[in-house]
Amino acid sequence: MSNGYHIVVCGSLVPDPLQTLEPVMAPDGPGLKNEAMLPSVLDPWAAHALYEAAHLAKRVPDSKVWLASLGPKPKLQQLMMAVAQKAPFEFVAIDGSASGFADSFETAQALAKAIQSIPGLDRDRMLLFGGCSSASRDAGTTLSMVGALLGVEDQFLAVDEIEPDADGGFRVKERVEGAQYLVSRCAGAPAVLAWATGNLPEPPNNPQIGMANMRGILPALAKAPSVGALRGGLRFESVETPSQRRETRVVKDAGVEEIARELAEWIRG
């Protein structure tokens, strides 16, 4: 029997962090102004999880990576043009809302259902990867609930490192309070690993990987099930952008001595 991992990375799209975001209230709940037009990126934490998954799959023979993404189909297609070049994976698409205002449990249910229907996925060998948070909802609960719905009890949050053992187990480092790592040993898959940033830089684009991935991405998008708005029992009363503008005093013509003295006084004060 093979010892490789079946790594399922859950990751969706978020608005490009450099975009200005303005909330709007609609009858069915809040959203973002011009949301459909905003350029998107793969959620940064999920991206780290994907790079770590690809790295782990390369180290452990007979491993395979799936990327499960929930978002509006046209935006997923656009996103995959960039993401597909980063790492080899098989794509699992779910057509639905990627809004930060969607309910994390509803989102988790949709993802769990999609993962259950992945052909060839051995859930006894499954490592469920994703971000420890997101740049949209920022709740840090979705992946954990996907794991719970799939019956996976061994879960790790804010992971920066995984080190597989020869016997199928692995050591994990999770970020905890006080700039510390909690180091744990897990007997092996199945497990949930919600990644912080990990330790790997963003891989360069690889057009060959991109072309190989795209062969599966378009059919996956074509058969993506639709799951809707995923609001659950949430009732929003208001959403607003707090004023954050400060009156900046620009000090242009002061010498180094003057600036250093002013700063020293400010720091001591």
């Binding site: 608005p15 962090p17 450099l18 975001l21 973002l32 940064p44 930060g100 309910d103 449990f105 988790a108 740049a135 920022d138 609960t141 954990s144 609930m145 794991g147 719970a148 719905l149 009890e153 879960q155 790790f156 804010a158 050591r171 480092k173 999770e174 970020r175 905890v176 700039a179 790592y181 909690l182 180091v183 744990s184 040993r185 007997a187 830089p201 963003e202 659950g232 029992g233 949430l234 009732r235 929003f236 009363e237 208001s238 959403v239 952008t241 707090p242 954050q244 503008r245 400060r246 009156e247 900046t248 620009v250 000090v251 002061a254 180094v256 600036i259 250093a260 003295r261 700063l263 400010w266």
Partner: protein, 332 residues
């Protein structure tokens, strides 16, 4: 008001952390009839930190909770929630609760919301939390119960309560499992550049420290020494922009910076009273990473830097190398 359980995790040394103690006091002031649940090894002994005014205290302890694992913590918390029968579960935002309570929410048919910045308890519980990395805040409620809420410090009005619960403590049994074993903790980064959440000042180092300077050369070793000397002199916490941390894969780097130092979109949003950003021109820590910094100053070479204008209180247009060199002399 829905029946409430205040769920308190123990730290690795068996104590109750400050945020959890504050939550105990403020939540019991808001809802004096709430149950209190404590989980962790030695929970029964730790129950004496529960305010004397509490009406019911449940504990889940045992060797299986000596170190935090999702599986055992979730089993213990599930037992506490079921024993309490509460519809509203309040817990501090803590690595231990964040790891295990989503599992408990699924198993009990409930829902969970985290990083709650404000809550009003009453006939209808309403919460406020940030979305899109602290860019907007929403107020909402939800129908599903039990409702698990992880509260940030200050989400409830502060209250004082004297510890010393002297009533009967109810021990709740649960079944441990052993697929994961916590081996211990280790420092993510060591030495003088360690993150210090309790520091008065945050120094944010931007990618400019590794770029070519006016002489056409990079001065990375000098940058490292200046930053180190500044940290030694001030005891500041050290943050970094994402672009500087990401250079790990590219060559010239500040050797002691890791992703643990990163502030901003994928980093932390620290809460120091003062922050000084250096060489962060064109980078975004001012927007997200600085949301909760009190007084903010920045040193960079671009007076029109869109990331500092309107975000910093003072922007010094100067060479950060020269300013920090002199500043270290003054502070040293």
């Amino acid at each position: 008001m829905a029946k409430t359980l205040i769920l308190i995790p123990l730290e690795a040394d068996g104590t109750v952390g400050k945020a959890a103690r504050d939550l105990l006091a403020s939540a019991l002031a808001a809802d004096p009839g709430a149950d209190v649940g404590v989980f962790g090894k030695g929970a029964k002994q730790a129950a004496d930190v529960v305010p004397a005014s509490a009406s019911r205290v449940l504990v889940a302890g045992g060797d299986g909770l000596a170190s935090p694992t999702a599986a055992n913590d979730a089993r213990a918390c599930e037992a506490l929630v079921r024993a309490s029968g509460s519809q509203l579960v309040l817990a501090p935002q803590h690595s231990r609760t964040a790891r295990c309570l989503p599992l408990v929410a699924v198993r009990t048919g409930g829902r969970i919301d985290t990083r709650v910045a404000g809550i009003s308890l009453g006939a209808e519980t309403k919460v406020r939390r940030w979305y899109y990395r602290q860019r907007m805040q929403a107020a909402f409620t939800r129908e599903e119960r039990p409702w698990f809420l992880l509260l940030e410090s200050g989400a409830l009005p502060a209250a004082e309560a004297s510890a010393g619960f002297s009533g009967a403590v109810e021990e709740v049994s649960w079944e441990p499992c052993s697929r994961t074993q916590a081996l211990g903790t280790e420092a993510a980064i060591a030495g003088e550049q360690t993150i210090r959440p309790d520091a008065d000042l945050l120094l944010v180092a931007g990618a400019g420290w590794t770029k070519k300077q006016s002489d056409g050369q990079t001065h990375v070793p000098e940058a490292e020494e200046l930053i180190r000397a500044f940290l030694r002199a001030t005891g500041a916490s050290l943050g970094s922009s994402k672009s500087l941390v990401d250079q790990k894969g590219e060559g010239a780097v500040i050797s002691f910076l890791t992703h643990m130092n990163q502030v901003g979109q994928t980093g932390s949003s620290p809460r120091h009273p003062k922050g000084l950003a250096t060489c962060c021109h064109g980078e975004e820590p001012h927007v997200v990473g600085w949301r909760f910094i009190g007084e903010r100053r920045a040193i960079n070479l671009d007076p029109n830097c869109g990331w500092a204008q309107g975000k910093a209180d003072v922007l010094y247009v100067a060479d950060a190398f020269a300013v920090l060199r002199r500043l270290n002399e003054l502070l040293g």
